[in-house]
């Protein structure tokens, strides 16, 4: 029994933190937020050089073949640094989709490129406002080409290919395709956190190939979401911790009524409550990482638990960080906004808190059915 990261993993964390402190300070995030670039290309190249993109990709596909514990460590640090790069799209979504359902040819073609950073992948599901369901999908796939519009696709303007969910008349109602984006019309759209770019994809008979098999797409989306949820949750927990650190530092150094505001119980108890939520979320992320690293059966419940608690914790930490800063926290100049924006972006990225609460209870029901069967 051992419920901590190993020494090697903690060493990786130290290295990652040191690297990001240097190569991804808040000013880098702000540069993307305020500028026209879609992502920090220099940072992305360096991350690729460090091998982070290839962490869980098998060695025979150009990866490091390490475990999800290492990837969790990296995710937390990227979340902490609010890194403005397409890591979640390319690694947690596109890479995982290929690992889950890619044919040998697809894996051989794409995994080495994803591992090296030569290609960026993403995932496109949403077509309209509201929670996606198979029956509401309009995008159609005829075996070779795909037609439909996908909104709010993360990194859609910079990705080389997208894993796209289309309607299916058979099976679970959905089919997943791989679409190269060279000839696809993409339009960058404004989102709540401009440090992470999003685009609308207009697919008009674009060439597409099946990923997995027809009519099993919805099941694949669910498996993919469970895996990505753990890694998104680690990013969120990293953000939680950074927001708490920022609030605490400010509360120690800002004086009112002749003393640091961190000495007033209103602030002390607020930040203690942030700490409590962060700690519970982090512990649930440990559980999630363990399930992702090995236990298929426990993954749906563990992933939902990590995801719900991390989403709630980041919203709370980021809004109370602004509140602790008072008026200064509401200025563009201060970095509080970066966490608050990212909190909301990450919270709907792969489905909202509500959606994951529902999935959590469904997973518990399922695990009970299995236990009693």
């Amino acid at each position: 029994m051992n419920f901590e990261f190993s020494q090697e993993q903690n060493l990786l964390r130290e290295q990652a933190r040191g690297f990001l402190d240097e190569n991804c300070p808040p000013s880098s995030v702000r540069k993307i937020l305020e500028g026209t670039d879609s992502f920090d290309e220099v940072l992305w190249k360096r991350i690729a050089e460090l091998g982070w993109l290839s962490t869980v990709i098998p060695q025979d596909h150009g990866g490091l073949g390490m475990s999800y514990y290492e990837l969790s460590v990296i995710a937390e640090e990227l979340g902490r640094a609010l890194a403005p790069v397409p890591f979640s799209s390319s690694v947690y979504l596109a890479t995982e989709a290929l690992l889950l359902a890619g044919s040998t040819a697809q894996r051989q073609k794409w995994l080495p490129r994803l591992a090296s950073g030569e290609s960026i992948g993403t995932f496109a599901l949403s077509e309209q406002a509201g929670r996606p369901t198979p029956s509401a999908l309009k995008t159609s796939f005829d075996g070779n080409s795909i037609t439909g519009t996908k909104i709010a696709v993360p990194d859609g303007d910079i990705a080389d290919f997208a894993v796209v969910v289309a309607r299916s008349e058979v099976g679970d109602g959905a089919t997943v395709c791989l679409v190269e984006l060279d000839d696809v019309a993409t339009r960058r759209v404004d989102v709540i956190d401009p440090s992470r770019s999003h685009a609308e994809l207009t697919l008009e008979g674009s060439q597409a190939e099946l990923l997995g098999s027809e009519g099993t797409g919805w099941s694949l989306v669910n498996q993919l979401f469970d895996r990505a949820a753990v890694l998104f949750a680690w990013e969120q927990v990293g953000g939680c911790q950074a927001a708490l650190d920022q609030a605490k530092d400010y509360a120690l150094n800002r004086y009112a009524f002749g003393r640091p505001i961190g000495g007033f119980q209103a602030i002390k108890h607020k930040l203690a409550n942030v700490y409590v939520k962060n700690t519970l979320a982090r512990s649930n992320c440990y559980y999630g990482a363990w399930a992702l690293a090995g236990s298929e059966a426990e993954l749906p419940l563990a992933a939902a638990t990590a995801r719900v608690s991390a989403t709630q914790a980041f919203y709370f930490a980021s809004k109370e960080n602004i509140q602790t800063h008072g008026g200064m926290g509401f200025t563009w100049e201060f970095d509080c906004q970066l966490y608050y924006r990212r909190a909301k972006l990450l919270s709907v990225g792969i489905g909202s808190e509500m959606w994951w609460q529902d999935r959590l209870v469904a997973a518990y029901e399922q695990s009970n059915r299995l236990a009693s069967a």
């Binding site: 369901t133 709010a152 002749g258 509140q323 563009w332």
Partner: protein
């Protein structure tokens, strides 16, 4: 208890409604004018017809109306899309302070142009190191003959760039405890040495400014109250601020999120049928309704001649977090589309994200959540004040950390 008008009230309402019907500016009249010109046009028209600042005495440009008449006016005016916001600080905060503390001559000189919209005023109170602890301001005023010379910096000044006058609290004696060394002035915003810089907010807007003072001269005649009495004068202003912003947080309201939940699908059914959505909506309705009727009760008290008390702090305190949470929830209901701010892409895009980004400011402006709770605890419930380590300590000996 009766929501309906008395016959006199109904008569007054009809008169108001008819005048508004005939005098609200048309689109043609407003076209080509900026927001300030539009506001001034409308204010002047009201003033000329005797409908400006209804409760003020006639000699200062008002109508000498009752509280309830003023409420009826506001209810009827709010049915028309007319711009009124830029006069709120001058008419709602500076004017009541002038009425209590200025000379008769000053009142007759300054209040009518406030009522007519000719002059816009702003409020110069907060400083970078004095927010919740407002009495901890550092901007200095030093006597020089019949003038005072002001040096320092103010922050969070709405409308400083288009204001004619400002109300100002400064420190005239740093060697006495903080509340005792303050003095209150009003000044011409065009005075030499006044420099105004907009502050960009996290929501992207820039509704506030920093105002820098470099050797700005203000004549002693523009002092309100005695030297050292600035805190008491400020309290007049602040009490009126609370009444002015008591209405709530603005932004996304219940009905909008309700309609969104009717329209959006959740697992192929209308989202409004989901129990979690219903429960959240019910709670927000209870808050909105509770604030509305708390406001009505305050109006009734007002119409009976009572002064609205610190219980008005409830509105902003409850309303701000409600807006924030409703916006966050609406974004969640929209799922991936919720983050879009691109009106070309999604219907209503930007409305919820806009409120999400604005709400944190409402939780802080005009007294943070924490200050509101302190006010309620101390002034309504009568609980003890916080321990004050700076009590009785000369201001220049109070610890201030790195925040100065």
């Amino acid at each position: 208890m009766d929501f309906n008008d008395t016959s006199q009230e109904a008569e007054f309402r009809a008169e108001v409604a008819e005048w508004l019907q005939q005098n609200v500016p048309t689109r043609e009249e407003l076209s080509g004018l900026g927001e300030i010109q539009q506001s001034k046009l409308w204010q002047k028209r009201k003033f000329d017809a005797g409908w400006a600042c209804l409760r003020w005495p006639k000699e200062y440009g008002g109508r000498g109306a009752t509280a309830i008449q003023s409420v009826i006016w506001n209810q009827e005016e709010s049915k028309h899309p007319v711009p009124t916001g830029i006069f709120q600080i001058g008419q709602g905060m500076a004017a009541p302070t002038m009425m209590s503390w200025a000379s008769e001559e000053q009142k007759r000189f300054h209040l009518p142009p406030l009522a007519s919209g000719e002059h816009i005023w702003c409020q110069l109170f907060s400083e970078p190191s004095a927010g919740s602890d407002l009495a901890g301001i550092r901007t200095r005023a030093e006597r020089d003959g019949n003038d005072w010379i002001i040096n320092g910096q103010k922050i969070w000044t709405s409308g400083a760039h288009y204001s004619d006058y400002g109300i100002l609290v400064v420190r005239t004696d740093p060697t006495v405890p903080k509340h005792k060394g303050l003095t209150y002035f009003f000044l011409d915003m065009k005075s030499p040495g006044v420099e105004i810089k907009p502050i960009k907010q996290i929501s992207g807007g820039a509704n506030f400014n920093e105002v820098f003072f470099t050797d700005v001269r203000v004549p002693d005649e523009q002092r309100l109250g005695a030297v050292g009495q600035g805190w008491q004068v400020s309290l007049t202003t602040l009490m009126n601020e609370r009444a002015a912003i008591g209405g709530g947080g603005g932004g996304v309201g219940f009905d909008r999120v309700f309609r969104l939940a009717q329209k959006l699908a959740l697992d192929d059914r209308p989202a409004i049928e989901n129990g979690q959505v219903r429960s959240a909506l019910a709670n927000w309705y209870c808050q909105e309704s509770g604030l509305k009727y708390t406001g009505y009760r305050s109006l009734t008290a007002l119409s009976r001649g009572e002064t609205p008390g610190p219980e008005n702090s409830i509105g902003k305190y409850v309303g701000a977090s409600k807006s924030q949470d409703m916006a966050s929830f609406a974004i969640d209901l929209l799922e991936m589309a919720g983050i879009l701010e691109d009106r070309a892409t999604a219907t209503g895009a930007g409305i919820y994200t806009g409120t999400y980004m604005n709400a944190p400011g409402i939780r802080i402006a005009g007294g943070s959540d924490e200050i509101m709770l302190n006010i309620l605890a101390e002034r309504v419930l009568g609980l003890p004040q916080d321990i004050r380590v700076d009590k009785g300590v000369p201001f220049n000996e109070v610890p201030s950390g790195s925040s100065n």
